[in-house]
């Protein structure tokens, strides 16, 4: 009996001290972690919308969507985080779009677990850069093994065709979702500069 009591007591003391300590550290770290996260998102938004100076999260849709504004507070377009399956697993990207969602301003890879040095080339400029100012009309297309001939085409990465195609698919999927929401008359225009 005594042993059980002392067992309980030891564990409880350790538990309490540990919980208390962690609560303290956590109360210090949590805001910082949240800030890091926010900074990461912010950075991605500004990367896909170089003209942007400000942004606002849209509450009218169920998914994450940011509307971005230039210096003078004019809406210049959207930043849309979207995800889909790549070669090895989930890929999450940020898509920058013009205000009428017809042209892509740029994309940024947020998360991916593709093969290093192969699939990860999707995050590098030769591939990613192709999306800058790319007309997505009616949608983005890919070509393999040759430079694009049409305006809305990108060339896949040799040896990582699957990852490349996955990006194109994610972009198209996101854009079509956004377009249908725009078309269905959601008042996307509301909500000005913060």
């Amino acid at each position: 009996m005594k042993i059980i009591l002392s067992m309980l007591a030891t564990l409880s003391v350790i538990g309490i001290v540990s919980g208390g300590g962690l609560a303290m550290v956590s109360s210090w770290a949590d805001p910082l972690i949240a800030a890091n996260k926010k900074a990461a998102t912010e950075q991605a938004i500004f990367q896909v919308q170089t003209a942007a100076k400000d942004y606002k999260k849209m509450e009218s849709v169920e998914y994450e969507l940011y509307k971005v504004f230039d210096e003078s507070g004019n809406a210049v377009g959207y930043a849309l985080p979207w995800e889909g399956n790549g070669f090895q697993g989930k890929i999450r990207i940020m898509i920058g779009l013009s205000a009428d969602a017809s042209t892509i301003t740029a994309i940024e890879i947020l998360e991916q677990v593709e093969t290093p040095g192969l699939g990860t080339k999707i995050a590098e400029d030769p591939f990613r850069g192709q999306f800058e100012g790319l007309p997505a009309d009616p949608q983005v297309d890919w070509v393999k093994g040759a430079p694009p001939t049409k305006e809305n085409e990108v060339q896949t990465i040799t040896g990582a065709t699957i990852s490349s195609k996955a990006i194109v698919a994610i972009v198209n999927d996101g854009i079509s979702q956004l377009r249908s929401d725009l078309a269905s008359g959601e008042d996307m225009a509301q909500g000005g500069a913060q």
Binding site: T10, L11, G21, L22, S26, D30, L32, I33, N36, G117
Partner: protein
């Protein structure tokens, strides 16, 4: 004087003779998982050393009051606490690194190197020795992870600590930073180190035998035994 020497070896033993990865085959998971680059390996080793040292300190301090029945549970609680601290600090201060090491930081909790040291050493020794032992093991871990990460980084991405060290003509071997490369490199490294050790041991043995052979009183039976060694 004598005491000082033992304190010193308390530290040095973990560095090589009882190297946790190469000799004790402990903490293999992080050794394999995070060593895609030297930097990652070093960071993981430092984080592990931090947890190891502090939990050893605490545990050896309170070793006499912990009832044996809840020994392991208490150890795990203490270790988990320090791991959470490391995790939170890294997420707050080094978000990029924390993302790279991913879930392997929390898994330090179950790294058997840490639990093993508590069981085998800290719970039986004074705080001073426990800390020295932990630092030694940590250093050994650092050497193992750093070298493994270094080799994999150099061959797999041409760089060392982020700086290009191999010529452009060298095609990086992607496999080195894939899981297969981790297993293969560590296996080959261990085999090579064993080979060196065995050679050393053989040489010592042979020297011993040679010395014996010179002794005039050697009996014939011994001589025959010797033959089978060489």
């Amino acid at each position: 004087m004598k005491k000082q020497v033992t304190l010193f070896t308390e530290y040095t033993k973990g560095v090589w003779d009882q190297n946790p990865v190469f000799k004790q085959v402990l903490g293999m998971c992080p050794a394999l998982a995070v060593t895609v680059s030297a930097m990652n390996g070093i960071a993981m080793a430092l984080a592990t050393t931090f947890v190891l040292t502090f939990s050893s300190l605490i545990i050896s301090l309170i070793r006499k009051v912990i009832p044996t029945q809840v020994r392991i549970a208490s150890f795990i609680l203490i270790i988990a606490t320090f791991v959470t601290i490391v995790d939170l600090v890294m997420r707050a201060q080094f978000p990029a690194l924390s993302k790279e090491l991913g879930p392997y930081i929390p898994l330090i909790v179950v790294n058997c190197l840490i639990l093993g040291r508590q069981e085998a050493f800290s719970s039986k020794n004074t705080p001073g020795r426990a800390v020295l032992d932990s630092l030694g093991m940590g250093t050994g871990f650092l050497i193992a992870l750093g070298s493994l990460g270094g080799i994999r980084e150099i061959l797999g991405s041409r760089t060392f600590l982020g700086l290009q060290v191999m010529p452009n003509a060298f095609d990086p071997w992607l496999v080195m930073i894939l899981p297969a490369g981790a297993f293969l490199s560590l296996g080959l490294m261990m085999g090579f180190l064993n080979h060196m050790n065995l050679r050393k041991k053989d040489r010592e043995e042979r020297e011993l035998v040679a010395r014996h052979l010179q002794e005039p009183k050697m009996s014939l039976e011994h001589g025959e035994e010797v033959k089978s060694w060489s």
